[in-house]
């Protein structure tokens, strides 16, 4: 059976990234990540395969994120904008992503974030959200299609910039 410390250390980055998008701010993500650890350290970690324990951990995380939304009764908050142009551009994308995520049904958003941001498998997400793996697959795909449509402009910009970067790298490699 994993100790709470080992379990937390192994999932710390996943939890933080999930909370960054689920709560919309890094500051809240830090607090909620620590709260998960406090809750885990107060209880007994189930002796189960790694995937099931991770599902259990993310069930706690999801409940915390839902409580946070209930308490604050608002959508994920955008990060503060800065004056630097490149930073401001990335903040614009950040804002657009947060808004698009907030427009998804809560369960679809959580399933999507656990898959795309926290990197959980369908089985783990199913355990965390009390769904079947097929329902997870279907919800992830539905969320992807909706976000693809809503974030069409940032996606296009990302692809243009990525292509430009790739060309630059190719040119610098050539003699």
């Amino acid at each position: 059976m994993a100790s709470p410390e080992a379990l937390f250390a192994a999932n710390y980055h996943r939890l933080f990234k999930y909370f960054c998008r689920a709560a919309g701010s890094a500051e809240t993500a830090r607090d909620l990540t620590q709260e998960v650890f406090l809750r885990v350290s107060r209880t007994r970690v189930p002796s189960a395969p790694e995937g099931e324990v991770r599902a259990w951990l993310f069930r706690i995380a999801r409940n915390l994120a839902l409580d946070h939304h209930r308490q604050h009764r608002r959508r994920p908050e955008p990060s503060l904008l800065t004056g630097e142009p490149s930073r401001a551009a990335s903040q614009d994308v950040n804002l657009a992503v947060n808004e698009a995520l907030a427009s998804l049904p809560t369960l679809d958003r959580d399933v999507f974030l656990m898959r795309e941001v926290a990197g959980l498998g369908y089985q783990e997400i199913a355990g965390a959200c009390e769904l079947s793996p097929d329902a997870v697959r279907s919800r992830v795909h539905r969320a992807r299609l909706q976000l693809r449509q809503q974030l069409a402009a940032p996606i296009a910009t990302f692809q243009t910039l990525a292509a430009r970067r790739a060309e630059d790298m190719h040119e610098t490699r050539e003699p």
Binding site: A9, Y12, H13, F16, K17, C20, R21, A26, A29, R30, T33, Q34, F37, L38, S79, S90, V93, N94, V97, L101, L113, R115, E116, V117, G121, Y122, R137, S138, V140, H141, R144, L145, L147, R148, L151, P154, I155, F158, Q159, A162
Partner: protein, 115 residues
């Protein structure tokens, strides 16, 4: 979900997929566009904020306990010092304290002068 979408989603998610279905999906320009868009979407939804080092989180978590332990140690030290101080103090007495200086009174003798 269409079979094209199914195969592409399974590929993106490291889930088992039918290679024939994936081939068909990637032969279709719409399937290729979907794969590229979903891979890009995965990139842009990643939070830009770096997580704080895990040690800092541990330190922050321990800080309240450290403060409580320090406050308890201070309290114990103060209580111990007070107890030791009271034990060493002399018990209160109703007797007058011994004199520290004795002044001898001399009777007054007039030596004359103007009345």
């Amino acid at each position: 979900m269409s079979r094209t979408h199914d195969a592409i989603s399974a590929l993106l998610d490291n889930e088992p997929f039918n290679p024939q279905e994936l081939l068909e999906a990637l032969n279709d320009p719409a399937g290729r566009a979907l794969l590229i868009d979903l891979a890009s979407l995965r990139q842009i939804v990643q939070p830009s904020e770096a997580p704080p080092p895990i040690a800092r989180v541990d330190a922050a978590r321990r800080r309240p306990w450290q403060l409580i332990a320090a406050a308890a140690a201070l309290l114990v030290a103060l209580a111990g010092g007070y107890a030791a101080g009271t034990r060493q103090t002399l018990p209160p007495s109703t007797d007058a304290p011994p004199p520290t200086r004795i002044v001898q009174a001399v009777p007054f003798t007039p030596t004359g002068g103007t009345p």
